[in-house]
Symmetry: C2
């Protein structure tokens, strides 16, 4: 993932980007990180997103800056006035600092493309996002690839609930705003791959045991054979840091939302979870000591290092998450319990560069981030449970 | 270091080698591991050894098995009858198991060559060692390269004391046994490099900071220019595991014991210690965080791993010893103090294969040793101080 270059630290508080104040604070909610819900030992979260465009307006890809400004104004005005507004905050991305935008990307509330912006002066490209707080279940990006990208995330296997969330929001928006829709093709979108339902459903899975047993490639190929996309923690083109993978449908045309939902939630995702669980049982049966060694060494590095980069932190957190869900790390934090899966999930976000800088309260260079990351990990993993 | 191949585990207690009982038990004494005495932050121990041969008997290199048996009988009888005997135990090496002999090598009480034996049936080569207990300060090898190899070890910079120990023993032996001596050359030895005083004085130094700052080669070259030998933890040909180095005189002809002693104790060794201390201060001043990171990660590995080989253990113990002596590991063991240097010194022996098997009480294959080593380290490093 390519980070925006950090800006120099503001000389005085007045120079700080104004938008910083309305970007959600750390650990406000992020319901999807709770580590609750069905199959959550393997399946962290379920996500549904819809691509929607306003009728009678040029698609974002063709639009001038003025068109895009108008789209933004229309959407923001409606979204922040509607009954949704009481639970939503609005962030103008063109007024935000690169660090704040990076924070939203790390939090999976906007996409990398949305963070970057379009055109000759992408920083000032009119675009924004509405986010439900404090649960962060819902985010609505305006002027990403489509006029509206509506997303709902929930913890565990809960595509049906996420779909219900999003369907209700979609109906509310459609009652006020006119969507581009063709009776023949369905919802029209900037990219043909999204035409039809405009829906993408995905799940974030933690698959360390399949990597350790060498069966990950097999599962990936099987998923691809079923027209599923397998991506990394930060979506398209991102590496699978921390053994986290997004599995999502690729086809939106010719399949109803209900079919996609049924295929994923009722069949494919539980199967992938079962493969991972089988691999975990296999590791326990065939090389328990080797697994315990890896898991405890990861714990030892996280709870002792004084310098740590993001990749190492994610890899170690992945092993610690595996060990915690398998009951192999009892007593590690100084209590009889295993480390709390919710803490591990949250740390997977908190070690990312923008979150880390937000936690510290100032911009940090790479070396300072390595120090701060190691310090954060020690304090979170070793502090007594509250 | 090439270990003798372990023998299959005895099927019943009566098959166990009889000598197992008279090999010193673990942690009996080993005064030189105490981490006390002058300069002991860097200089672990001081050692003096004498090469002596009986007059009128063929040197061990030329001797038949019968000659060697006679030499052994004469020496053992005298040693175990003399006033020394109350503090000494005797071990017949030709009656010992490979594991017991390996234990004595690891403990620096006999040499690797002495463990192996000579001739067509080296296992039955008549040879033995007398060891002072419980301090293990004194050991007298019979039928090593020379008829007698007398060694004294003490903690810290204490060559003078070790020399006094050995001089007194040497006088006692010489009062009863006739040494091969030439008025022109001095004491005669099997190998010409030992002719003259027959004395070798050495110190075991822990030089991790010189390795980390890249200055170790410079120090080694300087030592060689002064006709000093620089060897690893287990002497000639052994690797410098755990950043431990033996520095010793190479010349025995043409220099009196007092000159050798004065050069080493009064000049060279304090200088090497000062170089190492300078390198430690430089590390603290120029890259403290990087050093703390290495030291704490080593601690994390030692206190968390479930599998560990000897080399990794020695390397991590070296860093932990460095950190403990520099006060960087306060709080690591759960107390406010740094880990106890004596514990770290002892662990450097206890993680060796034979010591490990002795601690567990049975022979172990390589995988079992890795498990036992990790377990021993955790229990010793994390247990509350007694």
């Amino acid at each position: 993932m390519s980070q925006p270059a950090p800006q120099p630290a503001p000389q005085n508080p007045d120079d700080a980007p104004k938008s910083a104040t309305n970007v959600p604070a750390l650990e406000v909610g992020a319901e999807w990180l709770r580590g609750e819900g069905e199959l959550s030992d393997v399946l962290l979260s379920s996500r549904v997103r819809l691509a929607r465009n306003l009728a009678g307006r040029l698609f974002a890809t063709k639009a001038t800056r003025r068109d895009r400004q108008e789209t933004l104004d229309v959407c923001r005005e409606w979204l922040m006035r509607a009954e949704l507004a009481s639970k939503m905050i609005w962030v103008d991305l063109h007024g935000s600092s690169p660090l704040d935008r990076a924070l939203l990307v790390e939090r999976h509330l906007i996409s990398k493309n949305h963070s970057k912006g379009k055109g000759t002066n992408p920083n000032e490209d009119p675009r924004g996002v509405a986010i439900s707080v404090p649960d962060e279940r819902l985010s609505i990006m305006i002027n990403e690839e489509d006029h509206l990208r509506i997303q709902a995330i929930r913890s565990g296997l809960s595509l049906s609930q996420a779909w219900a969330d999003i369907d209700s929001v979609d109906d509310k928006i459609e009652s006020k705003l006119d969507y581009a829709f063709s009776p023949r093709f369905g919802y029209l979108t900037a990219c043909p791959t999204n035409v039809g339902t405009g829906v993408r459903m995905s799940a974030m899975l933690h698959l360390p045991a399949l990597r350790l047993t060498g069966e990950l490639e097999k599962v990936k190929r099987a998923a691809q054979d079923m027209s599923l996309a397998v991506r990394g923690f930060y979506g398209e083109g991102s590496e699978a840091v921390g053994d986290l993978f997004q599995i999502s449908n690729q086809t939106t045309l010719g399949k109803s939302e209900q079919q996609i939902l049924q295929d994923l939630e009722g069949d494919i995702l539980p199967k992938v979870v079962e493969y991972e669980r089988l691999a975990r049982r296999e590791l326990l049966a065939k090389r328990r000591v080797g697994l315990e060694d890896q898991v405890w060494r990861a714990w030892g590095a996280l709870s002792n290092a004084r310098l740590m980069n993001t990749d190492e932190a994610m890899q170690a957190l992945s092993l610690v998450r595996l060990g915690a869900t398998m009951g192999l790390l009892r007593g590690a934090s100084g209590t009889q319990d295993s480390p709390d899966p919710r803490t591990i999930n949250q740390l997977m976000l908190l070690v990312q560069p923008a979150h880390l800088q937000r936690a510290v309260g100032r911009e940090l260079d790479q070396e300072q981030r390595r120090v701060a990351r190691a310090s954060l990990l020690r304090s979170r993993l070793l502090r007594p449970k509250s």
